[in-house]
Symmetry: C2
Subunit: 193 residues, 2 copies
């Protein structure tokens, strides 16, 4: 399907140059066609962008949900660190998470409303499932007793900081150092002893 090739190229340009900086002519060129031909597959630039957005959302959401459904272990240390690894993997395996990060924080103004809806949707779901996991670990006394929201938000903060480091990109060593540091302090902050 040619539509997927277009979306793939569009994802790349939107990620690197943003909505306004990405031109249909360059996207078309990347898949070997003229910009007018894009209109045989999409109603316009907005339509293309929103379809790319929804694909990226679905990929991210399903990846995370799948991870949480797979683990039912009583080992928060392994599960949480594994989640951080998952985020890193997702980020490096495809462009979609980077695209998602960019547009969720710096959306094109005229689509901000529509984007925000998707962002809030995915955010609430991940937060809810994470919070219930933490509640379970608290009840099992696997981590320190507290409101479940506290470790949840703190962990989401660690995820965010790792993603920022991934966006920043170039330095593999620095990423590893930051991950290790954030994880060490975070885990010490929620575990017993």
């Amino acid at each position: 399907m040619k539509s997927n090739e277009i979306k793939e190229a569009a994802l790349k340009y939107f990620t690197i140059h943003g909505y306004e900086g990405a031109s249909l002519s360059l996207i078309a060129e990347a898949v070997g066609m003229k910009k007018q031909s894009i209109y045989a597959h999409f109603k316009g630039k907005d339509d293309l962008f929103l379809q790319v957005l929804r694909d990226a959302k679905e990929t991210e959401l399903s990846s995370k949900l799948q991870y949480f459904s797979k683990i039912d272990s009583q080992n928060p240390e392994k599960d949480l660190y594994g989640f951080l690894q998952l985020v890193i993997d997702l980020f490096q395996k495809n462009e979609q998470l980077k695209f998602w990060l960019r547009v969720s924080f710096f959306p094109p103004a005229h689509l901000a409303k529509a984007i925000d809806k998707e962002v809030i949707d995915i955010e609430e779901k991940v937060q809810a499932i994470l919070e219930s996991k933490f509640q379970g670990w608290i009840d099992a006394k696997a981590i320190v007793g507290d409101v479940a929201k506290t470790p949840t938000f703190a962990f989401l903060g660690v995820v965010d900081s790792i993603m920022l480091e991934l966006v920043y990109g170039n330095d593999e060593k620095r990423l590893k150092d930051k991950l290790e540091a954030s994880w060490t302090v975070f885990w010490r902050g929620i575990s017993h002893r």
Copy 2:
């Protein structure tokens, strides 16, 4: 000075719409002139952008350096939490930090090299001073013994996550919750007990 008015308006548009999405005509209109008149003050769009960038860099750097020079206390809990408050204040008081965050992580491609240089410069300085502070606290046994890099990177992660929450913006309550959660866990993670 009219140049400052132009830079002020440009900062706004660059922050909201990015480099490519910001137009000189709208910037000029915001200060009550035609876009061609901007060329009496700046050599072009790139020049305007880079001057805004350097202003933002200087504001951020001097604010942070000033904070660190003011505190010589032996109380890391107060000093570090105060730094987070400083970041929040900076973010809400002027647009420059938001602009800085946007362009440092999603720079216009043709200026990426120049931007990166400034970003790395500021980053190294803040990291260096922070690391020496942590080293002092470790030596004074005010926080748990470790390589100074670990709490430094972890703290920088907290700062990043708070800044992301600020960018995301709308929800004041959520910001407070996230700050409290990240700080609680972080402090527990580096303090004795």
